[in-house]
Amino acid sequence: MTAGYNFAYLDEQTKRMIRRAILKAVAIPGYQVPFGSREMPLPYGWGTGGIQVTASIIGSDDVLKVIDQGADDTTNAISIRRFFAKTAGVATTTRTADATIIQTRHRIPETPLRAGQIVVFQVPIPEPLRWLEPRESETRQMHAYADYAIMHVKLYEDIARYGHIATTYDYPVIVNERYLMRPSPIPKFDNPKLDMNPALMLFGAGREKRIYAVPPYTIVKSLDFEDHPFSIETWDTSCALCGATNAFLDEVITDDHGGKMFVCSDSDHCAERKEKAA
C-alpha cells in the first residue's frame, strides 16, 4: 500500500456514508438511493460510481477483478485494478472464480457466479424513465407509484419501427416485482443472469450520485409483450478463438478488406476454455 493514502483511497467517513447507501439499496431492491458522490481521480463516465462502491466495500483479504467490455486487459480495467492494488494493497485476479469482488462495465462474466461474490457495476445513467421524462421530480413519483407504462411505450415503438424489440443493451427490468431498473449498459444477453443470481449486484452512478442493488436470489424480469417475448442475442457463428457457441461474441475487424472475426467478449472465459482444450 502506498503511504499517504487512506486504505482504498476514500476516507473512512465517506466509505461509511456509501456503505449506508448500499445497505439501503440492498434493503429495497432496484431502488435508487442518492449518495454524496466524491470526486475521484478519474473522469466521469470512466467508472467513478463503481470505483467508489468498490472502495467502500473492499477489505484487505478481498480479491479484485475488473473488466471493461468483458475484457481484463482494456485500459480502464487495468488502471482501476492497479488503482486498488496500489491504494488498498489487495490481491487482483483475472479469473472470475477466484475473485470476491468484480467491478464491471458492460458485462456480467460468463462463468456462473457463486454466493459470496459481489459484482459492482459502473452506471452512466441510472434512471430508466429518463428517455421520456426529463423531470427528476416526476420520475421519482413514477417510481413511488410503480407507474411504468411509458417503458412499454418504448418497446412498442421499437416493434412498430423495426418489427421486433430493438433495444439490445441497458434493457429495462423489473426487480423483485416492484422497481423498474436500468441494468447499466450490459447487453440484454446478460439480463437472464441477473435473475435469481447467488451473487450480490451493486450499481454505482458517480455523476448522477445514485446507488442501487440487486440482492442475491432476487427475481429480475425483463419487460416484454405477450406476443413479443423477451429474447437474447444469438450468433450464427462460434468464437474464433475458443469455439464457444453460448457466449456473447464481439465482432473484431481484422484488416482493411472486410476481414473480421467473432470472439468471446469475456476474455477470461475464452482463455480458460482454450486452456482446457489444450
Binding site: L132, Y145, D147, H152, V153, Y156, A160, D227
Partner: protein, 266 residues
C-alpha cells in the same frame, strides 16, 4: 331537452363542485364556484382571458389543488369521493382511465418523440395491456374513428397537421373509454374549416359515447354547438349558469349580455 332526459336516467351527478376557491397570493383566480355535472352532459365555461376558466379546469381535473372547497366525483360503482382526498396513485389511475384531458396545444397532450400508434396505445399499456397486436388493433380503431389515416399510424405526430394532432390527442384520451373529458380550448389555434370539422366530430363522439365534458372556450359558437349548459365566468366568479340556448338568447347578467353582443356577425 336532451340534457334533462339524460339527467332523469342517472340520478347522481358525475362531478359536483362545492365552494371552490383558488387564489395565487393576493390574486383570486376562482371564487366560490358551485355546479353539478351530470353523466352525458356537456358544460361549456366561457369568459374573457384571465376570468379563471383554465384554473378552474386544472382544479377539476386534479392538476391543481384548490385552496378551499370540494371536487366530488361519482365512481363507476356509485361511490362518491373527493378528488383531493384520494391517494395520488389512485388519482393518477382515474385520470388515465375514467377521465381524459385534451389540451389546447397538442404539444402538452401528446408525446412528440413516439409514433401516433404509441401515443394512442400508451393509456392501454398504463392499465396493463401487454399484447402488442391487441394494442395496435385497438389504436387503429380509434385512429379511424377520429378520421386519421391508419397508414400513418407509425409516423411521428410532428408530421401531422394541427387539426390531425388535435384529433390524435382526442383519440389518445378516448381509447380507455372515459366517462368525463376536460377540454381546454380544443379548437383554439386551428383554422375555421378545420375547427368546424373537429367540432362536428366532437359532437358526434360525445353523442355516441355518452361522454360528459367540461369545455373551456372563449368561442361562443363552440359552446352553442357542443354544450348543453353554459357557465359564464368573470373575474374568477360564475356570473351566470344555465342552458346554453337560454344564456345565449336571453343573457341576464350585464357581462353575459356584453359577451353575447360582442360576437362578430358576418
Amino acid at each position: 331537452m336532451n340534457a334533462i332526459s339524460k339527467i332523469a336516467a342517472n340520478d347522481l351527478p358525475l362531478l359536483s363542485v362545492r365552494q371552490l376557491d383558488k387564489s395565487f397570493g393576493a390574486r383570486t383566480a376562482c371564487r366560490n364556484i358551485n355546479f353539478d355535472l351530470w353523466p352525458g352532459e356537456v358544460l361549456a365555461v366561457v369568459g374573457e382571458s384571465g376570468a379563471g376558466k383554465s384554473t378552474l379546469l386544472r382544479c377539476l381535473c386534479g392538476d391543481q389543488q384548490p385552496d378551499l372547497g370540494q371536487v366530488l366525483f361519482t365512481r363507476r360503482d356509485g361511490s362518491i369521493s373527493d378528488l383531493y382526498d384520494i391517494p395520488e396513485p389512485e388519482r393518477r389511475i382515474l385520470m388515465r382511465t375514467d377521465w381524459g384531458i385534451i389540451h389546447q396545444n397538442p404539444r402538452d397532450g401528446l408525446r412528440f418523440g413516439v409514433s401516433a400508434g404509441a401515443n394512442v396505445g400508451e393509456r392501454l399499456m398504463a392499465i396493463g395491456a401487454r399484447n402488442y397486436a391487441e394494442i395496435r388493433r385497438t389504436a387503429a380503431i380509434w385512429l379511424e374513428r377520429l378520421e386519421i389515416d391508419v397508414a400513418r399510424m407509425d409516423e411521428l405526430p410532428f408530421t401531422f397537421s394541427g387539426g390531425m394532432q388535435q384529433r390524435l390527442q382526442i383519440a389518445r384520451n378516448l381509447v380507455t373509454q372515459p366517462r368525463l373529458v376536460f377540454m381546454d380550448e380544443p379548437t383554439g389555434g386551428l383554422d375555421v374549416s378545420v375547427q368546424a370539422k373537429l367540432l362536428d366530430l366532437l359532437r358526434s363522439l360525445v353523442g355516441e359515447l355518452g361522454l360528459a365534458a367540461v369545455i373551456v372556450t372563449h368561442d361562443l359558437a363552440v359552446a352553442r354547438l357542443l354544450a348543453d349548459r353554459l357557465m359564464v365566468m368573470q373575474g374568477g366568479a360564475v356570473v351566470e349558469l344555465g342552458l346554453t340556448d337560454q344564456v345565449l338568447d336571453d343573457p341576464q347578467h350585464p357581462y353575459s349580455q356584453l359577451l353575447v353582443s360582442s360576437v362578430l356577425q358576418i
